[in-house]
Amino acid sequence: MISAIKTFFKRIFPIVKKELYSYFVSPIAYIVITVFLVISGYFFSMILFYGQSAELRGVIHNMSITLLFISPIITMRLLAEEKKLGTIELLTTYPISLTHIVLGKYFASLILFLIISFITLEYPVFLLIYGKPDIGPMLSAYLGFILLGGVFLSAGLFASSLTENQIVATVIGFGILLMLWIISWAGGLVNGNIGSILSSLSVFEHFDSFTRGIIDVADCLYYISLSFSFVFLTIRRLEWKRW
């Protein structure tokens, strides 16, 4: 059992490494990170100055929306390019399966996302230096943010598996994520049973609890399930395409 896990990681590792390398070699990653930090930093400062309240709740909401917009850009290259360059044939000759490839790329994008999140830790650090914030909600907000990122990136991954063109992949990625966003809006506007079903499907509805300081097992499971589903669909999609 343990050996199976070991081989799994051994096989994924080169993919992750290769993918991360190509991220940091291309200008896209740096531009995306910079833009994200500028926007988030601006929101953080403004919310802090006007609200005068030592909490992350406001800025983390803005960060999640910004994340929604930059995720497709991060993930667009993951699978679309491979098909174009025909390197997918090369990959499949290695003793690794499609599953390993997909997971490797997914994890690479996750690591990039974790690096971005790590840099944004300067915001809670500021709050801790200059005030006495409630630490619990800050931790849970970040937990929610990371899980949310997992969902966005998995959706982008799936989008990039659908086409050979990076631009189209980005657009489809946007489309899927905007759909998720719209469902949460609709859930808020519509009352009654339909409204509550929509709300329970919405990505942002579950996020709210995290920002308030509540760690809910159902919310965590929801995000993990959604990420799993997108990754699973990606693998199935590629298998279908291959054969």
Binding site: F24, V25, P27, A29, Y30, I31, I33, T34, V35, L37, V38, S40, G41, Y42, F44, S45, L48, F49, Q52, S53, A54, E55, I119, E122, Y123, F126, L127, Y130, G131, K132, P133, D134, G136, P137, L139, S140, N191, S209, R212, G213, I214, I215, D216, V217, A218, L221, Y222, S225, F228, S229, F232, L233, R236, E239, W240, R242, W243
Partner: protein
């Protein structure tokens, strides 16, 4: 236990070419997604929520959790909230916690500005009113009950009493006990609860109905007795003589543990005073003047002081004032009556007040010999434990008679009931008389607003670092990598 070989067989089958494309694959995808959805639904039933906040402001107390767990009737919650207010968030957050724990709660958030028709159906007059409804029973909770804001302390904090009020409301509207009836006496030119002009009491009727009471009128001269379903009897300023037969009926009612609210007015005597006297309330034939604590400089409209009682404790806590326009004073009689306990509810605030008895003088002023001396009592509450004959060995629950007498009735009229304290006092009195049971006391959650004070220098530092410096560092790293690549 699933055998390892079975898993391997399954995996091999999945890996087969024929499986990957075609209907098998579709079934596989659908089943996996189905299992994922199923697991989620399962977890939502056995869910676990962990509150990481410092003062556990999102955790519900054990009492609330118990009430919600045992809730078996559908309760509809309509929250008429002002969009964007700080209170809206707190109320929504709390109700969200409630709905997480029971499927029987159906919450609806309504913007009273956008749906004025719905708001008026529920009698909503102010923002941030939450209505709990189950079947025919309804209970409304107001913003001023939910929040008390202490802005003068070092750390400004808002105390939110939401949990106590919400849970109690749920208990109230789902109680098995039949709705209590409040009967208003008629036949002596009393104030009319169906009269919606200035002198009527229709606003009181509305307020009581919002608090889950059914309102009726009774003429005891005709009926000959007090109905059995009478929870509270209200005598709202009788203007003509109450005859002996009626006094006897009322006496019997009180002797058997009745609950009565009597509003009197100055310059009128109706012989009801004899009954009240038997219950230790002495009614003075005067008119209260309080030039130092009065409404709009009219010394005949005193603003009373609260003397510490269940009826007035919330008014005191929230610093809500009352006005009694045109009142007479009362006192506790000196005669002892075993088993009775008398409390002052309202008193004039200053020693500059007096009870004028000389109605002929042109200039009202305090005459020590004639007039009632300060401080003056304006409302009294009396309780009496009814002695009951023991039937054999059966334990009989003791019955308590409760009586509230107020030296003014104008405060409850439509023209004066806009003054918040007046309405609350009346409703609280009825509630106290009706002995609202099962009230749970839940400690309020104080949410300290975490202020952060930033000097201009600190603000600038934060701004420049987060918006300019950090992103710039990343950009430089990118440029460095790019240059290095070009060199290669």
């Amino acid at each position: 236990m699933v055998k390892l070989s079975n898993i391997k067989n399954l995996l091999n089958w999945i890996r087969k070419k024929e499986f990957k494309k075609g209907t098998d694959a579709i079934i596989f995808i659908v089943s996996v997604i189905g299992i994922v959805v199923f697991i989620n639904v399962l977890i939502s039933r056995y869910n676990f929520r962990y509150d990481t906040t410092e003062n556990k402001q999102y955790s519900l107390s054990n009492q609330t959790k118990k009430v919600l767990k045992n809730l078996d009737k559908k309760v509809k919650v309509l929250a008429f909230l002002k969009k964007g207010s700080y209170y809206e968030k707190q109320i929504k957050d709390l109700l969200h916690e409630y709905t997480q724990r029971t499927k029987k709660l159906d919450t609806e958030y309504i913007d009273p500005d956008k749906e004025p028709a719905l708001a008026s159906t529920y009698g909503i007059k102010e923002y941030n009113t939450v209505v709990f409804e189950s079947g025919l029973k309804r209970k409304s909770i107001f913003e001023r009950e939910l929040f008390s804001f202490d802005q003068y302390s070092q750390n400004p904090s808002a105390t939110f009493f939401g949990e106590e009020y919400f849970t109690n409301a749920i208990i109230t509207v789902t109680q098995e006990t039949s709705q209590k009836s409040v009967y208003f006496l008629e036949g002596h030119k009393e104030r009319d609860i169906d009269n919606n002009e200035r002198e009527g009491m229709s606003e009181i009727k509305k307020a009581l109905e919002m608090d889950n009471y059914s309102i009726r009128k009774i003429n005891i001269a005709k009926e000959g007795k007090i109905p059995d379903d009478c929870g509270v009897l209200v005598i709202a300023s009788p203007g003509s003589v109450v005859v002996d037969e009626e006094l006897n009926i009322l006496q019997k009612y009180l002797d058997n543990g009745g609950k009565m609210l009597v509003l009197l007015d100055p310059l009128i005597s109706t012989r009801l005073e004899y009954l009240l006297n038997k219950w230790k309330v002495d009614v003075h034939n005067d008119l209260v003047f309080d030039p130092q604590a009065c409404y709009f400089f009219d010394p005949r409209a005193p603003i009373p002081r609260y003397m510490g009682h269940d009826i007035t404790k919330d008014l005191e806590k929230n610093k809500v004032a009352m006005v009694l326009p045109g009142a007479k004073s009362l006192t506790e009689t000196k005669e002892k009556k075993e088993g009775t306990s008398v409390s002052n509810l309202l008193q004039t605030t200053s020693y500059g007040s007096w009870g004028e008895r000389d109605f002929k003088s042109r200039k009202p002023e305090y005459n020590k010999d004639i007039d009632t001396e300060p401080p003056l009592t304006l409302a009294i509450a009396v309780t009496y434990w009814v002695k009951q004959k023991k039937e054999g060995k059966k334990e009989i629950e003791p019955i308590e008679m409760r009586l509230v007498v107020v030296g003014d009735s104008d405060f409850a009229s439509n023209k004066a009931v806009q003054i918040q304290g007046n309405l609350d006092f009346f409703v609280n009195s009825v509630n106290w008389l009706a002995k609202e049971k099962d009230k749970i006391s839940i400690r309020a959650k104080s949410s300290e607003i975490k202020r952060i004070d930033l000097s201009k220098g600190k603000s600038k530092f934060i701004f420049y670092t987060s918006v300019i410096i950090t992103p710039l560092l990343v950009l430089c790293a990118g440029i460095y990598v790019w240059i290095k690549r070009r060199k290669l």
